[in-house]
Amino acid sequence: MGDSKNEWELLVPIVPFLLVAPSLKFLAGWESVEAAFLIVVVPLLTFPAILVVGQIYNGNETWKQRYKEGGIFGLGALSLSLSIAIWIIYDYVVGSAHFEAHSVVDPFSWLTFDVIEQTGTQWEVSTGFADIGVGVWIDSVTLMLLFVATFLCFLICWFSLGYMNTDKINEDSNHRFYGEFVLFAIGMFGMVLADNFLWLFIFWEIMGLCSYLLIGFYYWKDSAAYAAKKAFLTTRVGDVFLVVGLLMLYDIYGSLDFAVLFDNPSTGVGGAVVESGELNWALIMLFIGAVGKSAQFPLHVWLPDAMEGPTPVSALIHAATMVNAGLYLVVRMVPFVDVHVNGVAGLEEFALTVAWIGGITAFMAAAIAFVQNDIKKVLAYSTMSQLAYIFTGLGAGLLFLNIDEHHAGYFVIGASMFHLFNHAMAKGMLFMASGSVIHEVHHAHDHVRELSEKYSTNEGDDHGDFDPQDMRNMGGLAARMPVTATAMMLGSMSIIGIPLIGGFWSKEGIIAETWAACLHEEPLMLVPAVLVLATAGMTGFYMTRMWLMTFAGPPKSEVVGHVHETTPWIKEPLIILSVITALGGFALALLGASDYLGDPHHAELSYHGLLDTLEHAFLPEDSYLRLVGWTTMLLAMVIGPVIASRIHGGRLIDGVEASPLVSWLVDLSSRFGSQDVSELADSQLAEALQRRLYFDDLYEVALAKTAIPFAAFSAWFDANVIDGVIKQIESNSATGSVQIRRITTGSARDYILMAAVGMISIFALLWGVSN
């Protein structure tokens, strides 16, 4: 521990993986898309290998030191996926000629079957229903998410090598981590590449499983086990509706293939005209699935608890990739809505639902984030809130598209997708940075404890209760962790939407177009519009608060003094992502990413013109929008951060200098004076926010009061009523048996009497019959 050497020689096993893509291209002459399946298949082969080998060689020194308990192989597989993804993206961007069909590889018939249908009074075998196949679908949305997924999986796996393998508590169980990690990657890649809704759902569930497994990684902790269950069940609720949505879609279109569905969504199976009513319901059902997966109101309760998992898991699954699955699903619904190209009119309710859910969640999550002290919880609520932004944007976009305002629609959808990209990069980095903080604080704490145990025997310290994630134990870390502090600063800026940094471009677009939708098209959009605008300011507040509490001000515990950044496995990904966050967003914005991502039919990624971009962001023609834009900036850049500074800002302790990249911010934060908010912190509102607005309690109580007793009642009913009937028959027969045996009294006289009775009965019967 504590060495800062990067063990480059360990990466040798990765080289063959990296060589696969080039050799396929240059030696075997494959097209990039032909290799797309390898993105999924190679990890699919790797994950059981890691698990099984790890279980067998558990504790082996070479396995631990040289192969990092399987992490190296995981990294290798992910690097292969990444390289092929980049290859495909390159091909797509440079010459998209052979991608026109999207589904370039012929789908494989997975399940074949017949469907019969009723025509008039006849039943016939229907020709309109297609088999369920599996294939690869590639368009701009796919590629954007594919890049995000492969890239972040790779980086975070890298990060994990530093984060997981240096912690004693993970020893001998890291193979489990890497195995499940790679399995998750399969799910994510597969979902993005799938060419139909069923396979999308299949991989979606795989991700859910991995999310469950990884949240419960520390299985012995009650809280982790509970959180894992909660996450799985909550998303499961959504998934069930998603399944129902799939059934409805299949019934309408006779297929779940994108190629069939997107080709002409207005005609269903056998050329029937698609009614908007049923489709509306189908889409809403699908959307409930997305709500569950992306932790939106009211299925949001699982995400904060999911932070029980190891930090790389939070970074990857619960911030950067899996939670985007819901967004991806909604984006996939665009063709249904897009009346410009064969869409079905009359789906405004669906669009509004999306926007409203997004708005409510954005505001609610931001509000709860105000009072969180756990650094990861803050980020979790922030994730929720930012995802909600994207939903709002998508909702607005869907609304535009459904009333044939396709320019605005494409733009805002593009902006949303772009925000997804920015958010994924920034939030992944933020989580990794927080992981870095937690990791080092934890180690420092261990260090301090060792010292105190060495030197003072009787000191009753509260080490057992020390929480390395609690920001109230931090402060002033800017000096101790320069790389981390910088990365965190850049990430926060991107999330807040500081102009010119990545997130700004996309967030601006979302808020502006939501307002545009409200003002020009649909008054009901007012609520989400107002909420997202308010949230912009709130985002400024809580992100700044988090940074300041962690890095600025005087240290709040003795542990801080022992913190320092150690392993390069952690630092390297942070630096890479910092660069991307700082510059990538800007660069992509200049290339017109929003248009490109929004309109897969027409746009091309091209130099878009700096001035156009800037003008659109800062000086839109519409004066209302101009007002909205500037208000956003004001709220996010000024009001939120300034209030945060007044409460939490402050200089470091004397004699300590932060690195120049962040010191300005520390200085700035101390300039706005200070404010005591303890009264507010004790208020009922703060209490309610602390209790997460009582949603979790509500669900708990509802379950404990209804489902559990009902289940117990069912079990009782089964054992005592249904089985009771059987038992009753049994005991009644026994009673009857005893009774009937009494008739055999043992007295021959009675026997003769019985015989006489029998004789007379026979007479009676014979007499009755013969007459």
């Binding site: 007295s747 021959a748 006289r749 015989a755 006489a756």
Partner: protein, 100 residues
């Protein structure tokens, strides 16, 4: 000559007496006697039939039936002796070790 039906009527009465006695009396010997009465009722019928139809068979049947009755009584008494030697009773009610 007495009508066959009169004889048969007597048979009915005898039979009823026998049957009634068989399930009202406790003493096994009495029951045995009742059985004899019932058999005799049957014999009367055979005799009546034989005379009515002028058929020899009826007489033969009667003779054989009497023989059967004799055998029955012999066996019955033997069994009752055997019962008496173990349980010291020939009451139908008291010999009830076997029941239920």
């Amino acid at each position: 000559m007495i009508e066959a039906s009169w004889i048969a009527g007597l048979g009915v009465i005898l039979f009823s007496i026998g049957l009634l006695g068989a399930f009202t009396r406790k003493n096994a010997i009495v029951v045995l006697m009742c059985i004899e009465v019932m058999l005799n009722a049957a014999n009367l019928n055979f005799v009546a039939g034989a005379s009515h139809y002028s058929d020899v068979d009826g007489w033969v049947f009667t003779a054989i039936a009497i023989a059967i009755a004799a055998a029955e009584v012999a066996i019955g008494l033997a069994i009752l002796l055997s019962l008496y030697s173990t349980q010291e009773t020939i009451s139908l009610e008291e010999a009830n070790l076997l029941r239920n």
